[in-house]
């Protein structure tokens, strides 16, 4: 069923209007692109990280072996262990399951080292690691993580003597591999969900490993990209980013999402945004909200020329 206006009309050239709008938008786009360009800071490689901040890299590698990194304790969809977020009784993250399995110690450290020829100390360290019990591995790696945290500047060379087993050799071996560029092309770059690493279209493991360290986080903080800096909607440089995400980013800046609800903030904020989006979608059917335009008469500004000429009805229109 169509709807037809039986009142006064005026000539209106829709096609001409569209062509004019297209011309203006295209011209404005060209001017903005020519004047402001667009940001493109190159992607950080694991080699960049290893060379720029080797202490952080070694601490992260040891953390993966100890199971103390963010990835190791993430929970679904990457690991079975770890606390997932929930909205009250809705454990959506848990219910979705571990569909993108990641084993940080094996995938980020042991696997790449095993797949690459090494000198004798690393080969011996791998043999020692593989021959140890799970508890023994955790004890070595945890002790080394603690010792690195206490060492001056986290320098592996300044670590106090202790029983760290093969962990220092494994971490140093991974640092050497990464510094040479080998780790970027090794198993860390392989897809998390397919057995073959020939086509590198899945960056899941690489980004998880990179994000476990402090290096990427420091780079982002210096560029005002952290979550508490409205980071979700920002991008590098002085560019507008995604301002349409302002409401989503907003919740991360205010209590209770920064306080009492922080542990489940992601889940609750997502739920909240789904509810708000649904409210916007179904607004025509929501009493009260749909009446706001009638109560705050912005429409009198929009249609002022029509009202001036034809007047306004006194009936509720």
């Amino acid at each position: 069923m169509t709807t037809t206006w039986r009142g006064p009309t005026r000539p209106y050239d829709l096609v001409k209007e569209f062509v004019a709008a297209l011309g203006i938008v295209a011209l404005l786009t060209v001017v903005l692109a020519a004047v402001f360009s667009s940001p493109d800071e190159h992607a950080v490689t694991l080699q960049d990280w290893a060379r720029a901040d080797p202490h952080d890299f070694v601490a992260t590698a040891a953390g993966e072996l100890a199971g103390t990194t963010t990835s190791a304790g993430y929970g679904p969809p990457y690991t079975a262990e770890g606390e997932s977020q929930s909205i009250g009784f809705l454990h959506l993250e848990q219910w979705a399951g571990t569909r993108i399995p990641v084993r940080p110690a094996d995938d980020f450290v042991i696997g790449p080292l095993t797949a690459t020829p090494h000198d004798t100390p690393v080969t011996a360290a791998l043999a020692a690691w593989n021959g140890a019990t799970a508890d023994g591995r955790t004890a070595w790696a945890s002790a080394y993580v603690d010792a690195l945290a206490k060492a001056k500047d986290g320098d592996p060379a300044a670590v106090a003597p202790g029983d760290y087993g093969p962990v220092p050799a494994l971490s140093a071996g991974l640092l050497a591999l990464a510094s040479g560029g080998g780790l970027d092309a090794a198993a860390v770059g392989a897809p998390a969900t397919t057995p073959s690493g020939f086509y590198g279209t899945d960056s899941t493991r690489s980004i998880l490993f990179l994000a476990d360290g402090a290096y990427l986080d420091d780079l982002a903080g210096a560029r005002h990209l952290h979550g508490d800096q409205w980071g979700m909607m920002n991008e590098t440089g002085n560019y507008p980013g995604q301002p349409w995400l302002w409401l989503y980013s907003f919740w991360y800046q205010v209590p209770p999402f920064t306080g009492a609800w922080e542990a489940n903030a992601d889940a609750i904020i997502w739920g909240l945004m789904m509810v708000l989006s649904a409210a916007l979608l179904f607004l025509p059917f929501i009493p009260g909200l749909r009446s706001i335009p009638r109560r705050i008469p912005v429409h009198r500004l929009i249609w002022r020329s029509y009202y001036r000429r034809y007047g306004r009805s006194t009936s509720r229109g």
């Binding site: 206006w5 569209f18 786009t29 969809p77 993250e93 994000a211 507008p240 349409w244 607004l283 749909r290």
Partner: protein, 241 residues
Amino acid sequence: MSSPPLDATGPQAGAPDVAGPPPSGWTARLRARTLDTMSAEDLLPDRQPAYVASWIYVFGVATLAALLVVLVTGLVLAAAGPDWWHVSGVGHFVNSLHLWSVEIFFFVMVVHLWGKFWMAAWRGHRALTWMTGVLSFLVSIGAAFTGYLIQTNLDSQWISSEAKDGINASGAGAFWNVLDVGQMMLWHVTLFPLGVGLIAVLHVLLVRRHGVVPPLEAPAALDVDAGARLDADTEGRVSLP
């Protein structure tokens, strides 16, 4: 094999268009619910109601124009592949065109959306028009977001590592992996543009089918057929003479 008898009341008989039994068959029903609902005049009118005289109306057309620029610049980037813009000056400029056309697209679309809100533009059988507009806005956010994820630079590394937590917490991350640049690239260059394009076409067809919503407080609003009945549902009543 015998042919079925001709329907004497159908168009083949050359009969005038008179009221007959409701159309039967999928084809006839589809035609009745689509092509038969609009005339060429409805689709491309050269006159509009007198109240269509405000700058706010420009933003709907500007949104379509910006969408076209977004699609064209995106097609050029897609044709050359994901690495081209990192190594070519021309590619970087096309990327800049794509970025700024997206910024313009969202700006004019949000102004259009706010304008339609203050007009209560869902009145008179126009709720679906409003809903397709909102849906187009929401799907566009997904499209733009995946664009940021597939830049294959520092921005995409950081944005994806941050965004994964929210999407994983919703349960969707197990199926829609923002760290998988391959999956995001396919969504960005195929599924999202297809979604935005189809919804936008449907939105425009609905606008043309139901016309531009008449003013609140119109003295002689004659938004006939649907208006009086639907207004009871949407509280957007217009005064009939």
